[in-house]
């Protein structure tokens, strides 16, 4: 009745396996990020960042793409933030659990798991064609707004809910109305969490290409009006890489994207850190 492998040996072996899995994961990241950044570095200079593309991206820079990315992301956030914050406040402060709330939650969940190409299809059928916005910053931005919405909603809801109930009870007991309490007590306390949600939503919008493939056009010029077509960074990278236009500029564009994502990760982590320290009363 003796086991072949003693618990002690199993413990040692498994610990080794766990370490290896952890290290493999880190290595994967380091290899991908390291490769992209190292290959992109030689291209990254002021001329590349602030220059116009020449010969459809074979030469020159990516300034119009950076502006395009910023433009569509801004529109996405301007639309998604109020909608998702309103929804988060309603869900955490007003709604009582029931069929309706379950439906809203399922809606948000579905929204966050729908493939981005489906958003692209919808954007094409609805914004571009049905509402006749054409291939434009507006169509692309609105499509991205739909994608960022559930991200911001989920993070905001959690952070609003985590604000100690006694906070709001204290305020209500002082005779403040519900909205006054939310506005003056709950929201300020939940602000760091909400900000984190917005930044995460921003990350999702900046990184997206499939959803804007058929909504934003692919123009190389800097978009001025919201009805101008544009070419955000991920889309530019996709076109450069798949059409074999310029490997160098593709590396440069990829490096810029990765750096943006790293910055976003660092910022959200710092925010969350500081936030949780504050909550712990330090």
């Amino acid at each position: 009745m003796h086991r072949i492998i003693s618990p002690k040996i199993a413990q040692k072996v498994m610990k080794l396996i766990f370490w290896i899995s952890g290290i493999i994961t880190i290595l994967i990241l380091l290899v991908i990020i390291g490769y992209v950044i190292l290959k992109g570095m030689p291209v990254l200079n002021l001329e590349f960042i602030f220059g116009d593309p020449i010969d459809s991206g074979r030469e020159g820079g990516i300034f119009p793409m950076i502006i395009s990315s910023a433009y569509v992301t801004l529109i996405a956030l301007l639309v998604a933030t109020p909608l998702s914050m309103g929804a988060a406040i309603y869900l955490s402060e007003y709604a009582s659990e029931g069929k309706l709330v379950a439906a809203i939650r399922f809606g948000a969940e579905t929204l966050s798991s729908i493939p981005s190409i489906i958003f692209g299809l919808f954007g094409l059928a609805f914004f571009v064609i049905y509402l006749d916005m054409g291939w434009s910053v507006l169509s692309g931005g609105l499509t991205l707004a739909l994608m960022a919405l559930p991200t911001i909603l989920a993070t905001s809801e959690v952070s609003i809910e985590s604000i100690n109930k006694s906070y709001s009870e204290g305020s209500l007991a002082l005779g403040a109305t519900k909205w006054q309490t939310i506005n003056r007590v709950v929201l300020p306390a939940a602000l760091p969490g909400i900000t984190t949600g917005i930044i995460l939503g921003m990350g999702r919008a900046i990184a997206e290409a499939a959803a804007i493939l058929y909504t934003v056009g692919a123009a190389l010029a800097i978009p001025i009006s919201i009805f101008d077509p544009a070419r955000p960074l991920p889309l530019h990278l996709y076109i450069l890489a798949t059409e074999g236009i310029s490997l160098e500029n593709a590396y440069g564009t990829a490096a810029v994207l990765v750096i943006i994502i790293i910055i976003i990760t660092v910022v959200t982590n710092t925010l969350v850190d500081r936030y949780s320290k504050k909550m712990m009363g330090r």
Binding site: M1, H2, R3, S6, P7, K8
Partner: protein, 251 residues
């Protein structure tokens, strides 16, 4: 040897926090020792040092000696797993695994390499009987332990602990989450178990300490202020602070 556990000049730190200060205590064999003291004075930390559960906390540091049957349990050569098998523990909140009643008791046996189903079945029955739970659960052994009442869950945890035949049982406020009837049952159980086991029980309840223990140690701010026979501590304490505590003047 007369003493099962000897603690000498034990200091425990969590990071920079000095939690236990120069604690020395001798625990008699086959006897119940009660640890009392106000909340936060370090009772749990103390008993968790005795089976090295504190090792699970990153910030834990200690110095001093903890001897079990004369051997230092913090010796690098000591097998912690073996130690915990010898020094069992019952927690404040009943914490059965989300498994069946049978599997809860069988868990420790399986973990220690017993695979013979007959042996396991026998042992489970025996342990549940010793824990005075058998009659209540013998027909529902395959039901989830989570469906039991709090008191039953706590007796199940005791059964689970004695199934692996420890020499010492540490109990950290085992009755604080229970109603009076369940508490009485657990106390009866302790009386029954003390013949075979060395028991250390943390309690906030003075009556309980007098009812179940032969020996008592009073903790305050991480130090042992006074320890000795329970009768003496409760009837004529030497230290003013002990007297204040047991008469309910603070804490």
């Amino acid at each position: 040897m007369e003493y099962r556990i000897e603690v000498k000049d034990l200091n425990v730190y969590f990071d920079e926090l000095h939690i236990l200060k120069n604690v020395s205590l001798k625990i008699h064999k086959n006897m119940v020792t009660a640890l009392i003291g106000p909340s936060g004075c370090g009772k749990s930390t103390f008993i968790r040092t005795l089976n090295r559960m504190n090792d699970l906390i990153d910030t834990f540091k200690m110095d001093g000696d903890v001897l079990l049957d004369g051997k230092d349990i913090y010796d690098p050569k000591v097998d912690v797993v073996e130690l915990r098998k010898r020094v069992g523990m019952v927690f404040q909140k009943p914490n059965p695994f989300p498994k069946s009643i049978f599997d809860n008791v069988a868990y420790g046996l399986k973990v220690h390499g017993i695979t013979d189903n007959e042996v396991i079945t026998e042992k489970v029955e025996e342990s549940l009987k010793s824990a005075a739970l058998w009659d209540e659960v013998k027909n529902i052994l395959d039901k989830s332990a989570m469906g039991l009442s709090g008191g039953q869950q706590q007796r199940l945890c005791i059964a689970r602990t004695i199934a692996v035949e420890p020499e010492v049982i540490l109990m950290d406020e085992p009755c604080s989450a229970l109603d009076p009837i369940s508490t009485t049952k657990i106390e009866d159980l302790i009386h029954k178990l003390k013949k075979d086991y060395t028991i250390i029980i943390v309690t906030h309840n003075m009556q309980q300490a007098t009812r179940v223990s032969k020996h008592t140690a009073f903790f305050l701010h991480g130090e042992i202020i006074e320890n000795g026979p329970t009768d003496k501590i409760f009837i004529e304490p030497c230290d003013k602070r002990t007297e204040d505590y047991i008469t309910g003047r603070f804490g």
